[in-house]
Symmetry: C2
Subunit: 382 residues, 2 copies
């Protein structure tokens, strides 16, 4: 019997296996920061049974050749389920659209530059919106007024767009107004923008040698008012997504241009469970934002009854960086007091995590892109 | 008989008095660059019988007190008809809306900073869109992706927006796509972005001591491809507007931070008549873009039969800076060969210009804001 356990079951609750629609697992190209095995192990240990992986790898996933290489790597190594994003580049709109059926979505980088993936001209935005299939999501890294820009394109092309890592008050208020008007927009918020802001993040520097790089993330940590605005608009936030973006301590300690990004896969659920315990959101909202909504947005199949996680709502513990499975080996949430923990993870009937111990073998994870609902075409609003 | 003239009437044609919906006459505050008398004299000499004046004066027109001062100055001095824009500031959304009926439109500066008029946060954009009356235009200085941003706000708030000085290929293509989708957007293009670009503007530097400042304008002169895209999309350009922004030769000669801007009131019509003669647009299009469309967009009354201009379609001449009435006393179109000239301008039955000679007295011009059609409410698209 899989349910045998020594903990009183009164504090254990069962949740769906969670879906994180925004992770960077660094393979291929930056395996010293993370790889598919360590990244998906972190996911499972965090109660996440499916990750959607971003295309800013080395090389970037912007063509069939890199897609095929990456598919093979995941097929062999992944411990949890996954989908792979196509990266939009200045000249791949047609080619990308032709292999869209093998991708979980199209990622457009509109503000910051990441190698091949910079899109600085609206003409290339328009080409992608014209070519990319209506029933496969477009996800945009768009900050500030760029959120409005990309919503305009979605409206012109009669399709939806998903806004990654909303971090600012004006962004979430715009999205609220757009949703109220019926525009087809969805959005995600990261745990670090919910729990950290410029005025409460000194403890990160204290923990990591006062190196500013450990607070550096894109979008940056914002003001306390921006942070509060995210909580105040929780009702219109579709997804909690980690933007898991590991870098080593050495890299984050650099004085010149430390790379932006935090790991998040193993800490997001405890943080959200703690928020539930503190009355900041309901467990139903957590399930919506970490399972139902990403499933709906990315047209994914329902999980079977044999995939689920068990969480201990009452367990109190403190986040440290010793128990992290990520190669990045540090966390911006270090020292934070949690109430709520992952107890067990079951994937297709197989117990893959018990109390932080990951039992899954490489290759356990499946690419769910071919199981998604192809009939779920997004319809033009009339 | 007003029609008596020594030129053969076969080359003379009669047009409406033109409306320039984008001028900076520099008064109050920068009267050494231009004032209401020299600015409106330039307008009349150029065949323009109405100017819409921008609010980035010193002080900026962002409140009732400056509006009243400016209204009095124009009432006393203006040689041609006019309307005054309200400037949107970070904190005047409510106050501006209360005096909107006295203003021709609301000007929002979204990219570049002009003193009080910087709007760098979408929250203040949203406040203005919420408060400003639906039936009075909002005009946006928006470049590149900011065009899409502000179209998104217009769509969310169910109202139209007018895009100032469209200069780039991606901007005009976006506006074409937006219009095709039924979004409520209108736009203007300046003569300098139609006739000048980075590769054909060396003659300006040659004429003015090789000082780069004489080519500096906001938006900057663009590439030949951008320039061609404006001509190629002439069918969806609503207005030709000068963005007349005079600065003295001394100011433009500065090596450090020369101010951006060109004068344009006296040269725009000859340039457009020359384009008509060269088959680049029709005289009907000229009338649409320089009279009918600005009249429609700003809800202005029809002109009476006693207001019109006469142009000589055949007169050949070369633009020089000796005959300019603007205090700026230089022009980026210097040396350009024209075919077409303003012959006579008649405003409410009074001959106000004959062959470059301005005969109007100060105070001839009227504020047409109170004559506009108040019933012309822009309706929410359904
Ligand atoms: Zn991003
Ligand atoms: Zn930073
Ligand atoms: Zn990311
Ligand atoms: Zn246990
Ligand atoms: Zn401007
Ligand atoms: Zn310049
Ligand atoms: Zn201007
Ligand atoms: Zn004459």
């Amino acid at each position: 019997d899989m349910n045998i356990d020594s903990i009183s079951t009164t504090t254990l609750i069962r949740l769906p296996g969670l879906i994180d629609c925004h992770v960077h697992l660094r393979e291929p190209g930056d395996e010293h920061k993370e790889d598919i095995v360590t990244g998906t192990a972190s996911a499972l240990a965090g109660g996440i049974t499916m990750v959607l992986a971003m295309p800013n790898t080395k090389p970037a996933l912007t063509n069939l050749s890199v897609l095929e290489t990456t598919e093979k790597l995941y097929e062999k190594k992944a411990l949890c389920d996954y989908g792979l994003y196509m990266g939009a580049s200045i000249d791949n709109a047609q080619a990308a659209s032709e292999i869209a059926h093998r991708c979980i979505g199209l990622k457009m980088y509109l503000n910051t530059t990441f190698g091949d993936l910079k899109l600085d001209n609206m003409e290339s935005w328009m080409q992608h919106f014209e070519k990319w299939p209506q029933n496969i999501p477009i996800v945009a890294h768009a900050e500030g007024q760029t959120v409005a820009s990309i919503l305009c394109l979605a409206e012109i092309y009669g399709r939806s767009v998903h806004i990654a890592h909303v971090a600012r008050r004006d962004e979430i208020l715009l999205i609220r107004a757009a949703k109220a008007k019926g525009l087809l927009v969805t959005c995600e918020v990261t745990p670090h923008h919910l729990f950290l802001h410029r005025d409460n993040s000194q403890f990160i520097l204290n923990a990591y040698g006062n190196n500013e790089g450990f607070c550096h993330v894109k979008p940056e940590l914002q003001t306390v008012e921006d942070c509060q605005a995210l909580w105040d608009n929780m009702d219109i936030i579709d997804c909690i997504a980690t933007d898991h973006a590991p870098h080593t301590k050495d890299e984050k300690s650099k004085k010149e241009n430390p790379p932006p990004g935090f790991s998040g896969l193993q800490t997001v659920l405890p943080l959200m469970l703690t928020a539930v315990n503190n009355g900041k959101l309901t467990i139903e909202q957590l399930i919506e934002k970490m399972y139902k909504n990403p499933k709906r947005i990315f047209n994914l199949p329902d999980q079977g009854d044999d995939t689920f996680i068990e969480v201990d709502m009452e367990r109190k513990w403190v986040i440290d960086d010793k128990s992290l499975l990520s190669k990045s080996a540090w966390t911006p949430f270090i020292g934070m007091q949690m109430r709520g923990a992952v107890h067990r993870v079951v994937l297709r009937g197989e117990v893959v995590v018990v109390d932080g111990q990951v039992l899954a073998e490489q290759g356990t994870g499946k690419n769910l892109v071919h199981l998604r609902d192809k009939n779920n075409k997004k319809i033009k609003r009339v």
